[in-house]
């Protein structure tokens, strides 16, 4: 239990002693001052719960002392000791911040209950104040918590929205992929069956070409025509099968220059097309399936040639320059193939990588779609730039080493 500290201010040592005895017996600690000044000094050192002040002190009036003490301890209760228990005194005392008063001569039955009652009141006030403070703290905490909760809930909503958006995208992508997969599977089946059929046609033509080697020119010309169309069909089917295939890439380190050289050897430039390659010597090898990326480059180079020598358009320049640029980037190598051909219109640019989109009279529009697929399964990316009438650049970015995907 907390000890209650009382201050008795009276110049009558007899009273001081009597009161002190009573209070100490009741378990209170007591300090005594005979003058106002002394009381102030003691109050400065000790936080008294209550002061019993004689109304008349040698150095000041008792009521003068009250505000001075209250200034030091605002919660201190004051009990006046007065010889005249008149109503006037009582009222004045209460107005001056006095909680109670006791009369002289001291009535012992009255003193202790009065003091206890005052102290009880003070305890209540203190307790109230403490509770109020606690409540305020709790309120503030709750407010903070509510604020936090609101913030969280807002963030959550935002996150949910974002996540829903992502899910929607993923779902759409999946649907697209599934559609393409079904289409691809179907295309694959059809392609394979057609290869069987083409196999027989091709055999039949071979036989006819052999046995009719001395037939007239028109017959031989027609046989050659069928033969070349069979080869064309085979090419289209190969593209279709490449597009629908699901073989995982077999990646290894290979020099970009080597890949380019192989492709240019397999696909030498037509007349009037000049080739210039810009490959710095310090380019690291790329980590790709050389067959797949070789095919991508083959497609890009073929397209570039066709853009420069296509006879379908009068405005198309006959011939031009094919520029192959290689550049090392962080963990990557960028390889661009630029032509000075007919270019691609803005409208068509949006669709160049879409399957089944083509501007060629002959072609099913899978070359670039296949290329994009192949580059992506090899951990790379592909992009196109073009200006109609001036030419196009296709840039392939390839990884230099295995990246965790």
């Amino acid at each position: 239990m907390v000890e209650t500290k009382l201050l008795i201010v009276d110049d009558d040592p007899g009273i001081c002693e009597t009161l002190s005895d009573i209070f100490q017996e009741s378990g209170h600690s007591v300090a005594i001052a005979s003058r106002g000044r002394e009381a102030i000094n003691k109050a400065k050192q000790t936080a008294f719960n209550a002061a019993l002040i004689d109304i008349k002190l040698p150095d000041m009036e008792g009521v003068e002392l009250i505000p001075l003490l209250k200034e030091i301890h605002p919660d201190m209760e004051v009990i006046m000791i007065t010889a005249y228990a008149s109503l006037e005194t009582a009222i004045r005392a209460l107005n001056d911040g006095v909680s109670a008063y006791i009369t002289k001569p001291l009535n012992m039955d009255e003193v202790l209950p009065t003091v206890e009652k005052t102290l009880g009141r003070q305890r209540l006030i203190t307790e109230n104040r403490r509770l109020l403070k606690e409540a305020q703290v709790e309120l503030a905490e709750r407010k903070r918590a509510e604020e936090k909760l609101r913030e969280y809930s807002e963030q959550l909503e935002e996150k949910v929205e974002q996540r829903s958006e992502e899910l929607k995208d993923t779902h759409e992508q999946l649907v697209r992929k599934e559609k393409l997969a079904v289409l691809g599977q179907l295309a694959g089946e059809v392609g394979h069956e057609l290869r069987n059929t083409l196999g027989v046609i091709s055999n039949a033509i071979y036989y006819l070409q052999t046995t009719l080697s001395d037939a007239d020119e028109t017959i031989r010309e027609y046989l050659d025509m069928i033969s070349s169309e069979v080869r064309n069909s085979e090419k289209i089917i190969s593209n279709l099968l490449d597009f629908s295939r699901t073989r995982p890439a077999e990646r290894e380190e290979i020099e970009v220059g080597e890949l380019i050289a192989q492709v240019l050897e397999k696909r030498p430039p037509p007349k009037n097309v000049k080739i210039s390659t810009k490959i710095p010597s310090d380019v690291p090898p790329v980590f790709v399936d050389s067959q797949e990326i070789g095919q991508v480059l083959f497609n890009l180079v073929t397209n570039a040639y066709q853009a420069m020598i296509s006879s379908s358009s009068v405005e198309t320049p006959e011939g031009g320059e094919l520029i192959v640029r290689v550049q090392a980037e962080k963990d990557k190598v960028s390889l661009s193939i630029t032509d000075t051909g007919c270019g691609i219109s803005k409208e068509d640019m949006k669709k160049v990588f879409e399957p089944l989109f083509t501007t060629k009279a002959r072609g099913i529009g899978l070359g670039l779609a296949v290329s994009k697929n192949l580059v992506e399964v090899n951990g790379g990316s592909i992009e196109a730039e073009s200006k109609e009438g001036e030419g196009s650049t296709f840039t392939v970015i390839l990884p230099t080493k295995e990246v965790q995907s």
Binding site: H192, R195, N196, L198, G199, V200, S202, N203, T211, V230
Partner: protein, 136 residues
Amino acid sequence: MKKRVSILIVDDDPGMTETMPDILGDMGYDVAVAEDGFKAIKMIKERAYDVALMDIKMPGINGVETFKEGKGISPSTKVIMITAHSVEDLVKEALRNNAYTCLQKPLDMDKVAALVGDKQRKEISRGRREGTLEKA
């Protein structure tokens, strides 16, 4: 008299079993035909062909199974696998088991002739001497 190189065509496609013997026959080869794997195995048991052109995808027993079984019967037969499909696992398995090579349909008959003829000329003498197959 020079012995003619014997070739067994194994394919379930009638178009192939009809055209292949005509073409290869005209080239001077001794050609026989099996429409499926079981028939092919039976024929290999009866005669050790110099070369077998084996379609991979066939109903019943596929070309690779047929090839493996046939090889057990006639180790000296050179087997060239043929496929219209991207059955890469099967192709790999065949090559791992010493199939000579694998060609894709439609066939380039000049290339087939070159493979059968050149290899065969060389292999016939080797095969007779050692009774073994050269690894592809």
